[in-house]
Symmetry: C2
Subunit: 313 residues, 2 copies
């Protein structure tokens, strides 16, 4: 469930566009007005505002935001304003670039989106970068990471709930053998994790747990590749727990990890942030609102809190 | 260009459905009438006929065809009648099954369809088999074949004509090195062939040819995996030459290879059969019509000839 709050009566896109233009004009920028509008419109509404804004002022709203805002606040507003598929394409593209490269972001996008959402990201990637997502991922990764990440971002998993229990048992056994042998990047492990439906994978992991008495996630915490593989499995089966941990680590870090915090809030506010907040409170005995308020400040804080549904519209 | 001939005035789908029903009824089946209708309607029209038929007679047209027809004629009519995405999903599914398994058919479907067509095959595969295409391919192949085929069927290649010449040169060099070392299944070779756009791959191969003086297709004709890799490259860059060769081998074989012949005719009649026929005549000094007429007979022959545009509507 989304934490995004949209007012009962939403102004016309032309009115929102006009208000935003006013917020940019004159001395200083009216940040509160920007938050009041953009943090309280859904993806379709934001797209319409962008379209109307371009028609009225001959400039992309994102470019105006880029000129008027700065730093973490800018990144939060721009990321959230983007259409979800475009936003993921943008984040994935960043994640293949040298100075912002991240196997984790690629894995997160590949494993927590639905099959159709991920395909829409691949379409947006063509449009934005004149290349395919998988060719950039393949080109900019190597070894075991390439073996895992290319099929992850290329997957179009079956989304039905049907489960084949015989298969779940046989593949749990394969996973067990390979993991006992520390062959984390074995091609059978990669095949199972990258191609099976989420429902099927869940059945396989349940069987693993029952038959072998411990969760797959307990193995060898020092291996970097295994960490990524475990996180992929978590994203595929219990995404809210994965996101809770990313938020926890981002906030608890000495010096908040704003990139991770902004990314999770901007990408999940319209999806499952209610569940993530529940997980966060259960695990940290403090609400996510309180944690974010204690760790951030100013307009950036206001933007994040608006997106996670703190306060009224 | 398609060889499929659709009459200037096409009867209403309900009329076609009624005629087909009549063709099935009474003593014997009216095969000519079936050919006259189904071999002369485009994909959208055939879909409408199937829909109307189901509504009128409570049975799938494909099931009726299956009951009334047999052998090669049946396969040709049924394959052609299927919607292109469904047909490819059906062929790909067959190609992952034990007794009809074929790396070649999987490669052909992955490499000769457009990116969006291939994605539609993956969607149809979900609907028909409650699984993903890539999970079946990964599950039923191994070793080098899996390394090549899984990314091929999962690809969503960029389809623009933009070409990066620096990249073409550097990747031609990579291909040259690996192929000189007979490392045909090297992960860099696989990466280049499975992720680059067709235009980019073409530029890379042109550079290969210019810089190294011989085509990539000349290497080591005895290696089975290399044969498949070479065929993939051919499918991606000059599909009509690939299909010409499949037809030539199917027809020249001692005992025609009807499966290959039917597959190519049924899948290409609505796409590029005009070009394939030109290639065929150039390479064999005989028209494809004549070659097929000499090698097949009866209703099967009539169906194939209708699809490759022999005679009038």
């Amino acid at each position: 469930m989304a934490t995004l709050k949209v007012p009962a009566h939403v102004p016309a896109p032309s009115e929102d566009a006009e208000q935003l233009r006013k917020a940019f004009e004159g001395w200083g920028t009216n940040e509160q007005l920007i938050i009041d509008i953009l943090a309280h419109r859904n993806a379709a509404q934001r797209n319409l505002i962008r379209k109307t804004y371009r028609e009225a002022y001959g400039e992309d709203l994102l470019k105006s935001l880029d000129e008027e805002l700065s730093s973490d606040f800018e990144r939060a507003v721009v990321l959230f304003t983007l259409d979800p598929a475009e936003r993921d394409a943008f984040l994935a593209h960043e994640a293949t670039k040298r100075f912002t490269s991240s196997h984790w972001v690629l894995m997160e996008i590949a494993c927590t989106r639905s099959s159709h959402e991920l395909f829409n990201v691949r379409k947006a990637y063509h449009d934005l970068y004149k290349k395919s997502l998988e060719e950039d991922v393949a080109h900019h990764t190597k070894g075991d990471y390439r073996k895992l990440l290319v099929p992850l971002v290329s997957a179009f998993r079956y989304q039905g709930e049907e489960v084949n229990m015989t298969l779940a048992r046989s593949e749990a056994k394969i996973l067990r053998e390979k993991i006992s042998d520390k062959q984390y990047s074995d091609e059978e492990v990669i095949r199972i994790v990258t191609t099976r439906s989420k429902a099927q994978l869940n059945a396989t992991l349940n069987h693993y747990n029952t038959a072998f008495g411990n969760a797959i996630n307990k193995a060898d915490p020092e291996d970097e590749f295994l960490k990524l593989l475990r996180a992929a499995i978590k994203c595929l089966t219990v995404p809210e727990k994965y996101f809770e941990k990313v938020l926890r680590q981002a906030i608890n870090k000495l010096g908040t990890d704003e990139w991770a915090l902004t990314r999770v809030v901007a990408t999940r506010a319209e999806v499952d942030m209610v569940r993530i907040k529940e997980e966060y409170q259960r695990r940290n005995s403090v609400t996510l609102e309180k944690a974010i308020a204690g760790d951030t400040s100013g307009d950036y804080e206001k933007m994040l809190l608006a997106l996670i549904g703190a306060g009224d519209v």
